[in-house]
Amino acid sequence: MATQTETESDTGGVMMRDGAVRRIGEIAAAGFVLAIGGLLVWILATQVNYTLLSSPLIAGRFAEAFFLVIRIVAISSVLSVTFGIMVGLGRISTSPITGRIAKGYVEFFRGTPLLFQLFVIFFGIPRLWATGQFPFENWAVPAAIIGLTLNHAAYVGEAVRGGIDAVPDGQMEAARSLGMSRVMALREVVLPQAWRNALAAIGNDQIILVKDTSLLTVIAVPEIMSVFRNINSNQLDPWTPLVWVCVLYLAITMSMSQLVNGLERRSDWGSDSSMFGRFSLSSSGGSDGGDD
């Protein structure tokens, strides 16, 4: 590709013309869609057992798993965003104690795999009690919620910090010069702008949280991947239950994208706005800073 581009530009050839580049892009995209779409149609036509796909028994098992995942996501999502905002505020604290603790928190929970954290909570913590004495009998789901919350609070915290950092210093200085305290200036002036900046990154992280629930299969939470694995090992048919898995995850993540888009629209200051709007727009790239 590189050599082709060079030779074309040497002769001032096809890659120099906007229309031609556009057409090449269209052909590549269409070719991609045809190849993938063809494969999909072929799989749906030859590999999927539609009697099994529509059997009420399987639908019921997937539905149960689906609603369990939604419950886990809803709770973990609210908790991780709440806790993450606290972590983000801790990161910008003027106190070195708070700042370092928040930094250490982020480094640990972002720096170790979620699977490790889930094992610590599910297999490790109960071992601190004597055999059979651990007081919580159905620990898998609480362990899952705790693990997802602690892990994603670290990412949300970084998104919030990035959002705050992207608000120009002049905003804080101006508010302070009007006699506001630092806390009041943050609350009234900086955070509303930071929220707008951080929203995309937070939404991104929450969609990853949904997909991270698939790891819960290894701590015996009967979630969507677990149902897939049970059906696949009984029926020895991967493609049929995979169709269910795909549809169910997309149903959650696509609704969440819509929700995030709606929130972003609502928090957009619009065209009639003053300098705030322009500042936040021009610096909104900063919100990606917290999204690793």
């Binding site: 297999f123 109960p126 071992r127 009690w129 055999t131 059979g132 004495q133 651990f134 007081p135 919580f136 009998e137 159905n138 620990w139 898998a140 299969t217 290894v218 701590i219 015996a220 009967p222 677990s226 694995r229 049970n230 696949n232 090992s233 009984n234 020895l236 991967p238």
Partner: protein, 262 residues
């Protein structure tokens, strides 16, 4: 044990491939490890166990092949065999009709029972006490199938938690997550012998009137076989012959006693 068997991973280039320098074929064996005492690693990482010793005797000593074990998850092990990821399965696998539709089994080489493992000081005294409780199993095993059949005996009043590895289910028992673990007697027995807090649930089970019945409740009687792809009949016959020889020569009993005496 051959060097390849001792190391046991296909990643080692020297061991993989069907045409080694001496023209000797390497048999790759799919197995869900750890499942002590059938296949597990010692503290130094060496692969050992009943299946491993039987494989050594059958494939290396009797038939003169090289062999190597490949670790794989149990719930996808039949699909992996049919996708040609390995030649045979030796993974304490129970012969049943469902599986026999997808693979061919060797002659049985081990008899096992599904049993119920509980906490010694727990609240379960008989099978019926499990009604409304939670049991732990390993995903895709006949222990899971036995739990499902118990679930329907209880009109659905039984929750089943399926773990990736049997060790996860044992952990869950110790951690008060499940009231019992339903699994093969030998593997559960190995765990019970290492941990005083757990015991077998007692009672008369399906094996009660058998001569060699174990002294605890048995849910099912099962036989293990080596699984082959369905187009591998010649090789399967070869292995069946070797298994028979092992029994005649007494090697089988030697290996059996090493792992299951008393």
């Amino acid at each position: 044990m051959t060097a390849c068997g001792a190391v046991g991973l296909t990643a080692l280039a020297g061991c993989s491939g069907d045409d080694g320098g001496d023209g000797q074929e390497t048999i790759t064996i799919g197995s869900d490890i750890p499942y002590p005492p059938f296949e597990y690693r010692t503290e130094s990482g060496e692969l050992t166990g009943f299946d491993v010793d039987i494989a050594e005797a059958v494939f290396a000593d009797q038939l003169g092949y090289d062999y190597e074990f490949q670790e794989t998850g149990f719930d996808g092990i039949i699909a992996s065999l049919n996708n040609a990821n390995f030649r045979v399965i030796m993974s304490a696998m129970t012969i049943n009709e469902e599986r026999a539709e997808r693979v061919d089994f060797s002659d049985p080489y081990f008899t096992a029972y599904q049993t119920v493992l509980i906490l010694d000081d727990g609240e379960i005294g008989e099978l019926d006490d499990l009604r409304g409780e939670t049991v732990g199993v390993q995903r895709g095993t006949t222990g899971e199938a036995a739990a499902e059949s118990l679930q329907s005996d209880f009109d659905g009043e039984l929750t089943i938690q399926s773990y990736d590895q049997i060790t996860g289910a044992f952990d869950a028992l110790l951690n008060n997550q499940v009231s019992a673990v339903i699994n093969d007697n030998t593997v559960s027995g190995e765990f019970a012998s290492e941990n005083d807090a757990v015991v077998f649930l007692e009672g008369d089970g399906v094996a009660a009137d058998r001569e060699d019945a174990p002294p605890y409740l048995t849910l099912t009687i099962e036989e293990y076989g080596i699984a082959f792809r369905q187009d591998d009949d010649d090789f399967r016959e070869e292995v069946n012959g070797a298994l028979a020889t092992l029994r005649e020569e007494g090697t089988y009993d030697e290996i059996y006693n090493e792992y299951f005496s008393a």
